[in-house]
Symmetry: C2
Subunit: 370 residues, 2 copies
C-alpha cells in the first residue's frame, strides 16, 4: 500500500539558483526495520535553515504557489558544489503517528503509535525513518510537545557530557536565551553546574533570570568584557559554547578566560598554562572567526556537532540521554513556539522572512496542511 | 665564591618604553641542586625575540652603549601589563661549562662538565639552572653544536609525539624551511612519517628536496591550494603545524583537508566527519587568525607550546626524547648558524635589525664577549 502527500525539497544549481519546492509525492510501503510516520509537527531549527536557504537572498526571491526561487551568493554556491542540481528534502526532526511499518519486529512494535523521530525529511506529509530513530511517546504527550525532542535536548545534554569529559568547571554559553540555551540553563540549574549566560538584551537577561540564572551578561553593555571576566573569576569556568561562530565571540571568551587565569600571576610571555577551550556549534554569523591569539598558547577552538558527538559518546550514553529527555519532556526539555505555520505557509514570503531571521525569541513549528 | 659578568635584560614600562640593557652583575655561589654555567654559545630563537622585542619599533629605536630604547605599540603594551617595570633576563637555551655547583650530588656530578642547558637566562656571562635541566655533553661535542639542543629538537620530536597521540597519518608543516622544519623533515624521513612541507620560495623548496623531501609546496604559487589538496589526497594527512599564526594558513590547511576528505562524497551540509586539526605554535605573523569555517564542524585549531606538552607527556617520554637528541645531535638535530655575534653585538643596531627579522635561512648564535 502506498501513501500520497507532499514533500518539501531545496535544490541549489551551479548557477546559484536556489529552488524550494513543495511537490506531490508517493511513499512506498516501508520494509525491514523502517516505519512510515504521518508527520504532525516539525520545528524549524537553525540547522534546518542552513540546508533550506543557507545564505540565499530571500528578500528578493520570487515567491509563487508551492515554489521559491532565490539567488545564492557565488562564493557560497561554489562552496556547496556537492549539492548542485540535487533536490534535497529537509526537516531534521518532528513527531507524528506510525501508519505503516516494515516486517521487522522493532518496526511492527511501533505500528499505530505516536512517535518522535529524526528522519531528516520532516517537512512533508509523511517521513520514513528507522525504528531505532523513532521514540514511542506516552499517551499524554502531544505531537507538538514531542516535535523538538531530539536536536535541542540532545545538544544541550551533549554540552554537559562534553564539559564533564573535558574536566571543566561549568559552561559559558553565548546566545544563551535561545530555546537551546534555556534548556541548557535548566539542566545546569537542576544538576548544580555553574553556567555563565551571554545574551544581547535586557529582555533576554530577564527571561533567563526568571528561569533561575545567576550569571547573565549582556554583550551589548560597555563593560561586557569586564563583567565576563568577573563571572569567570567567580566560577573558574574555562569552557565556552558559541553558536554565533563568525566574528569575535570565541575570541572574547578566550581573552576573558586568560585575563582571569593570569590575574595576579607573574608575567609569562606564552600566556597562562590554564587550558581555555571554546566549541563553535553554529553559524548565526556566517562570516569568518577572528582569533587575536592574545591569550598565549594554551587554547583550543573547535567545531561541535551533535551526530559525531553521539557516535563518539557510544550507545549507553546516548540511551541514558534519550531516557532523560523522555522523562523530562514537558519540564526541562519543553520547547516554546512563537509561531505555528502549515507546510504550505513555509513557502510564503511573510513566513520565510520571519522564520529565516533566526531571531532569538521566535521559534516556528510546522503543522500539516489540513 | 661569587662570579662577575654581564646580563642582558628587557624591560617594558607602562608608557610603552622598551629598554634592553646589558649590565654588570654578580652571581652568588649556587646552592642545592643548582649549577652555575659559564655560557659559551646561545642561539636566538623566535621565542626569545617575543620576549626581547615583541612588536617594538627597532627601526626607530635609540641605540647607545649597552642599551636600546624602543617604543612598543600601545595595544601590545597594554596586553603585557604583567611585565611592566620588570627587567627580565632572556635566552631560553645554550651551552657552556659548569663552574660551580650546589651540594646536591646531582649538581656536584656536573662540576667542570660542558653541558647543554635551558636556563631562560642564557644571554649573560653566566646562567644558573637546575641540574635536571643541564645535560652533560660527550667530549667531542662543542658548545656550538649543543647550543640549540633543546627548543628545536624537543619541539620537532614533540610534533611527532603529538601526531601519534592524535592517530594522524603524518604532518603538514608551514614555514617548513626553518631550522626546526629541517629537523622535523629529517625525523620524518628517518621514521617513515609522511610530511607535506609548505615553503615560500624556490630556494627553500630546493633546500628541502636536497634533504630528501618528496612533498614540497610553494605557498606563493598560484595553484598552491590545488597542490596542497593533491598532496593530502596522496597522503591522507589531516594534521597541520603552523608557526605563522596570523592570517589564513591554518584556514588554508583545513580547507584543503576538507576538500580532500569530501571529494567524491555525497553533500553534507555539516561538512565531512573526518577530523581536521591544526596546531598554531608560533606567531611569525602577530595579526589575527582568520577561520572561514568553510569546512563543516569537524575541525580543531589550538595552540601548541613545548613546556605544557612536555609536562603532559610525562618523564619517560621526555627522557626518551632527550636521549634521542643527544644521540643524533650532529646529524638529525644539527643546527646551522648564518651569523655569530657577541653578547655586546646583540645590542648593536645592525645586528638587531638582522636577527629580529625572523627570516628563514638566517639563524644567529650568541658568543661570549672575549
Amino acid at each position: 500500500m502506498t501513501h500520497d502527500g507532499q514533500q518539501l525539497t531545496t535544490r541549489l544549481d551551479a548557477d546559484g539558483t536556489l529552488t524550494l519546492s513543495l511537490d506531490d509525492r508517493t511513499w512506498d510501503a516501508p520494509t525491514g526495520s523502517t516505519v512510515l510516520v504521518r508527520m504532525e509537527a516539525a520545528p524549524i531549527n537553525p540547522s534546518d535553515l542552513g540546508l533550506l536557504f543557507a545564505a540565499a537572498d530571500v528578500e528578493n526571491a520570487e515567491y509563487s504557489q508551492g515554489r521559491i526561487v532565490a539567488q545564492m551568493p557565488e562564493k557560497v554556491t561554489n562552496a556547496m558544489a556537492a549539492r548542485h542540481g540535487k533536490a534535497m528534502p529537509a526537516g531534521n526532526e518532528g513527531a507524528g503517528t506510525v501508519v505503516a511499518a516494515g516486517d521487522d519486529p522493532a518496526a511492527q512494535a511501533l505500528m499505530g503509535k505516536r512517535v518522535a523521530c529524526v528522519p531528516g525529511t520532516a517537512y512533508g506529509t509523511y517521513a520514513t525513518c528507522d525504528a531505532a530513530m523513532a521514540m514511542p511517546l506516552d499517551d499524554d504527550i502531544t505531537a507538538e510537545q514531542a516535535a523538538s525532542s531530539f536536536v535541542n535536548p540532545m545538544t544541550s545534554l551533549g554540552f554537559v557530557e562534553t564539559m564533564k569529559a573535558e574536566g571543566a568547571k561549568g559552561i559559558i554559553h553565548a546566545a544563551a536565551a535561545s530555546n537551546l540555551g534555556q534548556m541548557l540553563l535548566r539542566i545546569c540549574l537542576s544538576d548544580g553546574i555553574p553556567i555563565i549566560n551571554i545574551v544581547r538584551s535586557d529582555e533576554q537577561a530577564e527571561l533567563l533570570r526568571e528561569i533561575g540564572a545567576t550569571h547573565v551578561i549582556d554583550m551589548t553593555d560597555d563593560d561586557f568584557r569586564a563583567k565576563l571576566k568577573a563571572a569567570i573569576d567567580e566560577t573558574g569556568i574555562m569552557l565556552g559554547f558559541d553558536p554565533i561562530g563568525g566574528g569575535k565571540m570565541a575570541d572574547t571568551m578566550l581573552a576573558a578566560m586568560e585575563a582571569s587565569a593570569s590575574d595576579g600571576q607573574p608575567y609569562n610571555r606564552y600566556g597562562s598554562s590554564e587550558m581555555k577551550k571554546v566549541f563553535i556549534y553554529g553559524a548565526l554569523d556566517t562570516g569568518p572567526t577572528y582569533l587575536s591569539r592574545g591569550y598565549g598558547f594554551s587554547w583550543d577552538v573547535s567545531g561541535w556537532l551533535l551526530f559525531p558527538f553521539l557516535q563518539k559518546a557510544g550507545q549507553d550514553v546516548v540511551a541514558r540521554m534519550r531516557g532523560r529527555v523522555m522523562d523530562e519532556l514537558t519540564s526541562t526539555f519543553a520547547s516554546h513556539y512563537s509561531d505555528r505555520i502549515t507546510l504550505d505557509d513555509m513557502l510564503s514570503r511573510d513566513a520565510v522572512l520571519a522564520y529565516n531571521r533566526r531571531a532569538t525569541g521566535r521559534k516556528f513549528l510546522v503543522l500539516p496542511n489540513d
